[in-house]
């Protein structure tokens, strides 16, 4: 492989990942977004802004030295150098809309399209780009998982969407109701966040993250079975404005850790449910609660929901 080709191959963006706006604008050669396009809380964006500002100042006093450095413009300035027809809206960059050109000089705070998208995206969960399988359970990639079988997905704008994972919804089976938290309620990682009802049984479920509840999925009040049909998308539970995002994320499973964790949970479930037997070809039923026929239900809840 030639040196040029090698350099190009390094710039491949893996499926499900997104280019940082600094890369998209061409200021840096390679950087993937790791903060869901929430530049306001992004350490990298902050550092780059500071760097560019310092070098602009330095350019006044030492023009010759600074001219060799490439970080003299912010990504907005770089994008603004493009012809108007090529200034991609940041929702186009992130893939939320097919084509949208920025008419507003990247001043999103004053943009009505940005406001509309913000409102729309709070109602509809972002589509899951990749679902994988671990022992018969669906696992949404690019999502963080709490040991109490909830998931947390940081989204554009810094908010975090929360829901039940596939393991939990199958263990609970046909959900008959859900007690959503009040708006403004403060939830904490590892503490009760909401309750799920299955006829006469109630299960208290842990929140995967600290934050203030800013929106709940009102559709679940009428149709709680959406949780069973679409646990990672339409069946989301609530959205929080996180208060300890970075710290909380370190306490959650992500990537390969999720698969290992789900595999271990499945083995634990089999050993508890089968009472001294072990099976091969073990694809679990969609309603494990029903399969257990109420046997030791409290023990299962305590074990898997960490209550």
């Amino acid at each position: 492989m030639t040196a040029t080709k090698k350099k190009e191959s390094m710039k491949i963006v893996p499926p499900g990942k997104k280019k940082c706006v600094w890369m998209e604008a061409g200021v840096v050669s390679y950087k993937l977004c790791d903060n869901n396009y929430d530049c306001s809380t992004c350490v990298y964006d902050h550092a780059m802004q500071v760097k560019v500002a310092r070098q602009k100042e330095a350019a006044v006093t030492e023009p010759l030295e600074v001219s060799a450095d490439k970080f003299t413009e912010t990504w907005v300035e770089k994008m603004m150098q493009l012809p108007a027809s090529q200034r991609k809206c940041r929702y186009m960059i992130t893939g939320e809309v097919g084509r949208k050109i920025c008419p507003n000089a990247y001043e999103c705070g004053n943009c009505s399209f940005d406001q509309m998208m913000q409102e729309r995206m709070q109602v509809e969960a972002l589509p899951v780009h990749a679902l994988s399988d671990e022992g018969g359970f669906r696992v949404a990639e690019d999502t963080y998982y709490h040991e109490g079988h909830t998931w947390a997905k940081p989204e554009y704008g810094g908010r975090v969407r929360v829901g039940l994972d596939d393991f939990a919804q199958r263990l609970l089976g046909r959900v008959s109701g859900i007690d959503l938290p009040d708006l403004g309620h403060q939830v904490k990682q590892g503490e009760a966040g909401f309750r799920v009802r299955r006829n006469g049984d109630v299960v208290s479920v842990r929140s995967p993250i600290d934050g203030v509840v800013s929106r709940t999925n009102s559709r679940l009040s009428e149709n709680p079975e959406i949780i069973n049909e679409s646990p990672y998308e339409a069946g989301w539970i609530f959205i929080v404005e996180p208060t300890k995002l970075r710290k909380n994320l370190k306490g959650l499973y992500y990537g390969d850790e999720v698969h290992k964790y789900m595999g271990e949970e499945k083995e634990r479930l089999l050993s508890m449910a089968n009472m001294g037997t072990a099976a091969d070809g073990a694809e679990l039923v969609d309603d494990i609660f029903e399969g257990l026929e109420g046997k030791d239900w409290d023990k299962f809840v305590k074990t898997f929901f960490r209550t």
């Binding site: 001294g276 091969d280 070809g281 679990l284």
Partner: protein, 185 residues
């Protein structure tokens, strides 16, 4: 007690399949096998709601039937389940040297593929080794190639090999020696 395993055909099972399962157990586990035919059809285990047979009830019946070997492996044609699973290829009582396997979902025809006796036998041999492992006390292995890997679907069974990984084999031998040293219950 004879230090061999009884392979028990529950209902009708083709002879060559039983012979080849027996050969595989002798080769991989070093355990002699004897074949027992003519065990009754398991009508007692039929579940009308699921139209499947409850594998746990079959295991209980196998445990109660008299045999003079240290272990028993039932082989059956019908579709098996346990309440929290949609189906099982096999089920074992851990540490009780008693297991059952079903050929129903191991047949290529079940997946709309043409009949293939060799493929069926290989799948049956892997499932038998897996269940014998459980029946001695082995748990599932994380190595996808090891016969003790938990198959969720038939593709998992096809992917894994017909033998234990070195760790599982060592554990298998240890369990086997302990079981064979125990007096017959």
């Amino acid at each position: 007690m004879s230090k061999c395993v009884t392979i028990c055909a529950i209902g009708f099972v083709e002879e060559d399949i039983l012979d080849r399962i027996s050969g595989s157990i002798q080769e991989r586990c070093g355990i002699e096998c004897k074949i027992l035919r003519g065990t009754e059809n398991p009508q007692y285990a039929y579940d009308e709601r699921r139209c499947q047979y409850n594998s746990r009830l079959i295991l209980d019946r196998l445990l109660r039937c008299g045999h003079d070997t240290f272990g028993i492996l039932g082989v059956i044609q019908v579709d098996l389940f346990v309440p929290i699973f949609k189906y099982v290829y096999g089920l074992a009582l851990i540490g009780c040297q008693c297991a059952v396997i079903s050929l129903h979902r191991l047949r290529p025809q079940f997946y709309d593929h043409p009949p293939n006796r060799d493929l069926l036998v290989v799948r049956a041999q892997k499932t038998a080794l897996h269940e014998i492992g459980h029946s001695l006390g082995l748990t599932h292995c994380r190595d996808r190639r090891c016969v003790m890997y938990s198959s969720t679907r038939i593709a998992d069974t096809d992917f894994k090999q017909s033998h234990y990984c070195p760790t599982c084999l060592e554990l298998f031998t240890w369990h086997l020696e302990r079981c064979q040293a125990l007096p017959y219950p």
